[in-house]
Symmetry: C2
Subunit: 246 residues, 2 copies
């Protein structure tokens, strides 16, 4: 609905999760788009430039206008300038530092502004650790919740994890969360100590890269593996609690 003829479009561009060639995860049409776009709103201008020059051979990076989301100001960006470009019919791309803009990553403010101004928002296919790990966990994909980071505070964290367990056991709902990578091993230990040993944990590490490891096991076995020296220290990981249905 709404007449958005003549206006620019806001393209939401997912990018790589780790060190892989662009043909592994980026459809050909998106690569063509990246060769064409002249305006971006991004989480970090320097890494966005580096990403674009690596992914699109021959691209003249100096011809691009790149706006940053200001993380110290609630991910604000030069709204008036960007909206004016769109009104003039220029297309604008949004990129975060990894994965999908707006999903466990900044970008949703730009999207809301575009909806309000009647601009077309076009989400592009690309890697999301949430979705890839959910597919590969084998857990219930009909009913799931993503929580982002667990609370840091010990009591709220404990309460949150017990609530997660209850939701898996009562309703079969898959529970998905993330953690700072230097605390991965600590988190797995915490899950083993706190929750039922029969509950299943899936950990997906270094998704889409040649180092990818995706493992779904009952907590009782994770506990043994930790004792045996298993470590995911500082590797990008995502965690899922769920039930193995038979």
């Amino acid at each position: 609905m709404g007449n958005n003829e003549g206006l620019g479009k806001l393209y939401l561009i997912p990018i790589e999760l780790g060190n892989v060639e662009v043909e592994q995860y980026q459809p050909q049409r998106t690569l063509e788009l990246l060769g064409r776009l002249r305006y971006y709103v991004v989480e970090n201008a320097r890494t966005a430039r580096r990403y674009l020059s690596r992914s699109v051979p021959g691209l003249d990076i100096s011809s691009l206008t790149i706006y940053e989301l200001d993380k110290h100001q609630g991910y604000s960006y030069p709204r008036e300038e960007v909206m004016e470009l769109l009104r003039q019919g220029e297309d604008v791309g949004v990129m975060s530092e990894a994965g999908c803009p707006g999903v466990a990553d900044p970008g949703h403010r730009v999207v809301i502004d575009c909806h309000r101004a009647g601009m077309r928002v076009v989400p592009l296919v690309g890697p999301s650790s949430i979705l890839l790990s959910l597919m590969a966990s084998g857990f219930n994909g009909q009913y799931f919740t993503f929580y982002g980071y667990l609370p840091h505070d010990r009591a709220s964290r404990r309460q949150q994890l017990l609530e997660c367990q209850r939701r898996v056991l009562d309703k079969g709902e898959t529970q998905i969360f993330i953690e700072a990578p230097y605390r991965n091993d600590q988190l797995i230990r915490e899950l083993c100590d706190l929750l039922s040993p029969t509950l299943c944990l899936s950990v997906a590490v270094d998704l889409t890269t040649s180092e990818e490891e995706i493992t779904t096991l009952p907590l009782s076995i994770w506990s043994k593996r930790l004792k045996g020296g298993l470590s995911y220290h500082k590797r990008p990981a995502i965690f899922l609690l769920g039930r193995e249905d038979d």
Copy 2:
């Protein structure tokens, strides 16, 4: 962990959501994989064959072995045969009828069996209506729940929707669900009648295709548009309730 050298891999292959060219959503490496795989577990063999012959020019479809998930038997499949192939080092692909296998679609049983047998499960990047609509809604992507289909029963449905509203208002959690496409307009009307007019609804229709429409508006405005004749009748849609953060 686990020694899976010499074993085959289970590839989870997302496919198109609607009528678009394969270069729009399928990375080059996935197209190469589709040219190489000889064994599949799929939701429907006939449409899988049709998909593969359309997407991979020159592929000899008759050389493929395609197993079906039996929806009348809880999506069972010839487990022993498929596991034996993987043990012998053959790679196997899993495809559903649209989008990502195992996410709001069958396939998770095969995945669980592979984890148990120590096979590597490799999720590939591709289109998911859940993820694309979440990115494009502008709603909270740090905290969201996907419910699948809403209950049919009037009372449980009402209760579920009021609970969704509470979770948006209390915690800013984005609520995502689907509906049979012939009931899209009815569902939007129901949401307008039951929930607060200031609550925001995002509807994403015909995602990834040239007919794509993604609209985020307060329910008060959806209500006016319905009266003005808006209809998404029989078009594939996904629904999100959320909050426009400022």
